[in-house]
Subunit: 93 residues, 4 copies
């Protein structure tokens, strides 16, 4: 059980929609749509993916990190470190 | 014919791979994988999408924008404006 | 006392360096330097700022959020929420 | 003369304001302000910097790149390549 488990259906629904957006992008390329229109859809898919990531991170902080912090000690430090590295990857991607 | 047309097969291949990455993300959620591992894959898919966008933008500048600029006048200004707005959307997403 | 207090001198030193980078940017514009060279320096300053933000966030999670989580209840939920909103602002900026 | 020359005073004014924002950040750290309030200001400064970058890029495309494209040949290709690399650095920072 992780932080996102209770919202699992919601995440699956959002990821299926993003998968559809990517398939739509391939269709646009295949049908020679205008570059800027494709780029607009890429930005939309990227935002949707980021939004999933931010949700997963919030669930992670409120659940896995919170549990580790309550335990304290090295386990807590390691979880905070790990979450911070994942935040850095999100900010830089 | 747009700037990306000559690289169409390459873009389609990369988009199919990203579609697979998104499907993999849904599978990870469905199988209750660890949040941070899912987030790492989200960052990878986001970077792959951005890379497609940057390729499309370069093709667009070297082809559609270049053609408009050679024509000059208002057509050129409008194309530069449109490309700049798309760049802003990429930077902000 | 906040999470960053023990690293205060380090943050101040980094922010002074970023202030110098911004002043350097203004000097480049004033001296009509080449656009791309200015943009390269803007990217460097942006990365330095983000790096400060990621450090502050890690200190915040390991200190303020950790304390609130140990207290538990609504205080903990509010801190996790607040941190998540700040992470979202970083990812989107 | 570059694309941004005619807007030079505007860029200098914006960069001076960002310099003030960075100095304000150092003051907040020095006065032990709350982490999240500092992070909010970091996001604001980052957005202001990005906005300067997007302006410089638009001026660059409409002026330096446009001129090179009108010349054509290898000069044009090199300018489009160079601009695309700068866009990639902006998107990834």
């Amino acid at each position: 059980m992780y932080g996102y488990t209770s919202n699992k259906e919601d995440y699956l629904r959002r990821l299926r929609r993003i998968e559809g957006q990517i398939r739509g992008l391939a269709k646009m390329v295949d049908e020679d749509k205008y570059c800027i229109d494709i780029l607009t859809q890429v930005s939309a898919a990227t935002k949707a993916l980021q939004s999933v990531a931010l949700g997963l991170m919030e669930d992670h902080l409120g659940h896995c990190v919170a549990e580790a912090v309550t335990e304290g000690g090295e386990v807590a430090d390691a979880k905070v470190r790990e979450a911070s590295e994942a935040i850095a990857r999100l900010v830089r991607s």
